[in-house]
């Protein structure tokens, strides 16, 4: 005789709990799976951080960058700089922003020069495919960054030839020899314009630079703040020793210790993941707990039978926990499959924004967390119901008839009992909701979570979109003209020539000067007293023509800067500039988020006098037509006019930049909406599960109603009244939850942008949420109710 190992009767009992109510089991598994997906989302940032740190190592990312205004350095001088104390690695490069022709239009491009592709020491540009561009061949060559194609910024594919405008206004053909990049430039490019890596000689050739470098990038051995500052000062000293006339274009750029490019933005975005993961977890706890409570309560008789035949409480609890473990493991497997895919897609999306391809990874942390959530949540959430349900005696168990609970004890019950003017079917529905209070609260919470998430995310998105759009429209100007390359810089005469071009409405000078206020690295904008820029002050006033005329040290500041440093109108603020420290009296506080709300708006003549500059080199041109074709034509005319008169300049089309900003907004909105929908869906799956269970569990009651004359429509009314009541309660709670979620998201955004955003919480999404939830709940009810109300009373009455 062969003994076949078989599962025990108790294990079979546990398993059959699932097959007995397959729909309920399936829905619980789906919700658990969502919680596990949440766990994967929670784990994702840690793995992504590790991947990015590896990339930082591989790219030998800089610790700081100096931006000299073009210095010529030979190998010996470079060696001198590299010998500076604490300098671990140092390299120099030249970059140039110009235009390239893509199809029938021109667009900006950032050329990043590499001194020697074979010997790079800082911000190493790696070749992923094709070959590194060579200098001195028959034609000019470049390497394209993978970010370019990803951002739909046409910059040429490998094997193609693009044409790039030189400072002599000639369009030179440049062959794309391969794809690759460095994380620092890729990340900068993703927020800006396409980047092409070229031998530094190509930059010199196209920019007309006399073989100079515009960036000194270096890494240090001791990364302490004091040591880095000392090293930076030493390097500036060395450079001043080698080139006494050296000037700087910008303040030193320091990479925060241990941070990879874009990490701050990524961290800010993480708050969305935390909210989602937390909600998924909460929703799963509520549902599992409610499912197990129902399961145990409706099986009081079976528990009594098990006890009667010798089952000890521990064993009985164990058998139900085994059921929980079956649910948990199924949810974990399903959730891991979805979560792993989602996380890897997100990894690759975010990585792609920075030119990094993390590939497919399975993190141990993720697996551990998924198991802890999938199994742990199920078992822990089941325990209270199990302990409660297995406590009674055998006799009590036998006396128990199904899931019946008493009604009439609580104040709510009494209140509902007094509402006797309502139709009886409505009364029945409402009282049924009150009778199963735990279940009703669970359903209400699930609806509240789903509605709250929907409203919170909607509110946050509406706020962000409105603020972004407000900032974009505030800036004004259709074409941005600025001096670039070697040649005659733009001046008031050039502005006069531009003003005479057909289709130009107004030319406004602007001066940008880097400024450090406290520890906030920002820009001072030199503007005329009647700027194109549309300010909206929350306090004080804009500066006057008189103040501009006498170069008064006054400023209007952005809302973020005011908030960060607690600045008020009438205060005096010290700003560090390239020309040294200046004290500015604050006369107004702006509300727009231009320059992340951290800008200093100063009379243009004041800035010019501080910087000891004669004339502005940057202008905003407003055209008479809003049509993009007309703006393109005006830009071309301006080009022709300024080139004819020998100016070295660049022209940016503002509508292209604004559209790029909007594209970025849309990407973020789509991502947030996608993730938000996930949680709403999860809440709704919970709702489906609870509602279905409710109908199934009350099949016997439906049988009684049918026996005493209730028609299908009467039954439907009873359940609809209950569903509508629960949805209304959940929805109203959801409004509060949504406001809280919106506030959390906006608070996180406010913190990251250092500004006090005010959450917009309009009425229409609230109404929409009600309609959607009601429709969904009624749809969800339709099938089980149809089935239950059509069940012959004889079967309904026998239903257990």
């Amino acid at each position: 005789m062969t003994l076949v190992r078989q599962p025990s009767a108790l294990t079979r009992f546990s398993w059959r709990q699932l097959t007995r109510h397959p729909v309920r089991a399936a829905l619980t598994i789906v919700v658990l799976a969502f919680a596990v997906v949440g766990a994967w989302l929670f784990a994702a940032p840690y793995d992504f951080d590790a991947t990015m740190n590896e990339r930082v190592e591989a790219d030998r990312l800089h610790d700081a960058i100096l931006f000299p205004d073009g210095v010529r350095l030979d190998e010996d001088e470079l060696a001198t700089l590299r010998d500076t104390s604490n300098v671990e690695r140092l390299d120099v490069r030249a970059t140039y922003v110009t235009e390239m022709v893509v199809g029938d239009r021109t667009q900006d491009v950032w050329l990043v020069g590499v001194r020697d592709f074979a010997d790079q020491r800082v911000n190493v540009v790696a070749v992923d495919s094709g070959r590194a561009p060579a200098a001195g061949g028959a034609g000019l060559e470049a390497l394209t960054d993978p970010v370019n194609a990803r951002n739909s910024q046409g910059a040429g594919a490998v094997g193609e030839t693009v044409t790039i405008r030189s400072s002599r206004s000639r369009f030179e053909p440049v062959s794309i020899t391969g794809e690759g990049g460095s994380v620092y430039f890729s990340e900068n490019s993703s927020e800006w314009i396409p980047v092409l890596y070229v031998p530094v000689e190509v930059v010199w050739e196209l920019a007309g630079y006399p073989e100079v470098f515009t960036q000194v990038e270096f890494g240090v051995e001791d990364r302490g703040d004091a040591a880095l500052t000392a090293t930076t000062d030493s390097l500036r000293g060395q450079l001043a020793g080698l080139k006494p006339s050296v000037q700087y274009n910008a303040l030193v750029e320091v990479r925060p210790d241990g941070q990879w490019p874009g990490e701050e933005d990524f961290d800010n975005f993480l708050v969305v993941f935390w909210v989602l993961a937390g909600m998924a977890l909460f929703s799963a706890i509520v549902l599992v707990s409610s499912t197990m409570t129902t399961l145990v309560r409706e099986q009081g008789r079976e528990i009594a039978i098990m006890k009667a035949v010798g089952g000890r409480r521990r064993r009985i609890v164990g058998s139900y926990l085994t059921t929980g473990a079956f649910l948990g493991s199924s949810g974990t497997v399903l959730g891991t499959a979805i979560g792993l895919t989602a996380v890897n897609l997100l990894f690759n999306y975010f990585g792609g924004l920075m030119g990094v391809t993390p590939g497919w990874t399975v993190s141990r942390f993720g697996i551990g967390l998924a198991l802890a959530v999938g199994m742990g949540v199920t078992l822990l959430a089941s325990m209270p119901a199990l302990l409660r349900g297995t406590r009674g005696s055998v006799r009590e168990g036998f006396d128990q008839s199904g899931a019946d609970t008493s009604f009439g004890d609580s104040r709510v019950d009494r209140l509902l009992a007094r509402a006797d003017r309502l139709p009886r079917t409505t009364q029945l529905g409402l009282r049924a909701a009150a009778r199963r209070k735990t279940r009703s609260v669970a359903i209400q919470l699930q609806v509240a979570l789903a509605v709250g998430t929907m409203l919170g995310f909607a509110g946050a998105l509406i706020t962000v979109v409105e603020i972004s759009e407000q900032s974009r429209s505030a800036e004004g100007g259709d074409i941005s003209l600025y001096t670039s390359g070697r040649g005659k810089p733009l001046d008031y005469r050039a502005a006069g020539l531009v003003a005479d071009v057909d289709g130009v409405d107004r030319v406004q000078p602007i001066v940008y000067a880097q400024a450090l206020v406290g520890d906030t690295d920002t820009f001072a904008w030199g503007l005329p007293p009647d700027p194109v820029y549309r300010f909206e002050l929350s306090d004080g006033r804009w500066f006057t023509a008189d103040e501009n005329g006498r170069t008064a040290r006054v400023a209007v500041i952005g809302p973020a800067l005011a908030r960060i440093h607690g600045i008020e109108v009438g205060d005096t603020v010290r700003a560090e500039t390239q020309a040294g420290p200046i004290d500015l009296e604050i006369v107004g506080i702006d509300t727009t988020m231009v320059g992340d709300g951290q800008a200093l708006f100063v009379p243009i003549d004041t800035i010019l006098s501080i910087e000891r500059r004669a004339e502005p080199t940057w202008y905003w041109v407003t055209t008479t037509s809003r049509d993009t074709g007309d703006i393109d034509r005006v830009a071309t005319s301006i080009h022709d006019e300024l080139e004819r008169t020998g100016y070295a300049f660049e022209a940016d089309l503002r509508y292209v930049e604004r559209e790029a900003d909007r594209r970025e907004d849309r990407t973020i909105i789509a991502l947030i909406l996608g993730l938000g929908s996930l949680i709403v869906l999860m809440g709704m799956v919970g709702l489906v599960s609870s509602m279905t269970t409710n109908v199934v569990e009350r099949t016997r009651e439906i049988g009684i109603l049918r026996s005493i004359g209730a028609r299908s429509r009467d039954i439907r009314r009873v359940f609809r009244a209950e569903a509508v009541a629960l949805v209304l309660l959940g929805w109203s709670t959801g409004i509060v939850v949504g406001y809280a979620i919106g506030r959390i998201i906006i608070k996180s955004l406010s913190d990251s942008f250092d500004v006090a955003f005010v959450l917009r919480y309009p009425l229409w999404p609230i109404v929409l949420a009600l309609v959607v939830t009601l429709l969904l709940a009624l749809m969800v009810l339709h099938l089980p109710l149809r089935r239950a109300s059509r069940l012959p009373p004889s079967r309904a009455l026998r239903y257990e």
């Binding site: 008493s406 009992a417 009886r424 029945l428 009778r435 009684i704 004359g709 299908s712 012959p792």
Partner: protein, 243 residues
């Protein structure tokens, strides 16, 4: 032709009686997977108006199935069921529900009261479904039925606040709510002590004396003596019609 004066009250009643229930060759087969179970095997049964009929038999003999067929809660697999002149086997579920609400009162073994409704509301419920009169009329009628079963002072109590006997009496009041043609009770005393059970039979007696046809199922031989006629069923076949 006999004159009315010649008739005893019993024979007069029989002569006036109309047939309330007529079951013809009723079979009921249950299928569960590959297993087939014949609960009723060709039952013929007539019940006249005003009768008090007990159906008895051992467990699993088909008593409750027979009762369910009479009330339209279940349908015959073959054969016909005519109650109050209506062919139940030809009606839809919704038609049956409405018909039942108007013409049949059912008393279940486990009372089956709705725990969220008071005694009064439980009693009013069939009238609500049948849209009988105004809500106030229904309340008055329900009060009367509860008075009839001796629960006039417990109308505002929820089932959880009543004893088993009281719950069963509410169930009877509910069954009588629409003044049904037929009152059926499935093991109406099955969950009651002897004294309460006897009181329950007194109530059914009174209802019957008031003219309502009463059919009840029991496997307690002592209770069958309270009925005017006892039908015995075994293995789905009527073995004694009691006529």
């Amino acid at each position: 032709m006999k004159l009315d004066a010649d008739l005893t009250p019993a024979t007069a009643a029989a002569a006036r009686a109309e047939r309330v229930i007529a079951l013809r060759d009723v079979e009921r087969i249950y299928r569960s997977g590959r297993v087939e179970y014949r609960a009723l095997r060709g039952v013929d049964l007539d019940v006249d108006e005003g009768e008090m009929l007990a159906i008895t038999g051992p467990s699993g003999s088909g008593k409750s199935t027979l009762l369910n067929i009479m009330t339209g809660i279940d349908r015959p697999s073959t054969g016909s069921a005519t109650v109050g002149g209506r062919r139940l086997d030809e009606m839809s579920e919704d038609e049956l529900a409405a018909w039942r609400g108007e013409h049949v009162g059912i008393v279940f073994q486990f009372f089956q009261l709705l725990p969220t409704l008071t005694a009064l509301e439980n009693t009013m419920l069939p009238m609500d479904f049948a849209h009988r009169g105004s809500v106030a009329d229904r309340a008055i009628a329900a009060h009367a039925k509860l008075d009839l079963v001796g629960l006039g002072d417990r109308v505002d109590h929820f089932p959880g606040e009543l004893s088993g006997g009281e719950q069963q009496r509410v169930a009877i009041a509910r069954a009588l709510a629409c003044d049904p043609l037929l009152l059926v009770a499935d093991e109406p005393t099955g969950n009651l002590d002897t004294e309460t059970a006897s009181a329950m039979l007194d109530v059914l007696d009174a209802v019957n004396r008031a003219g309502t046809t009463v059919v009840f199922v029991t496997h307690d031989p002592t209770l069958t003596t309270r009925a005017g006629r006892t039908v015995t069923i075994r293995d789905g076949i009527v073995v004694d019609d009691g006529r």
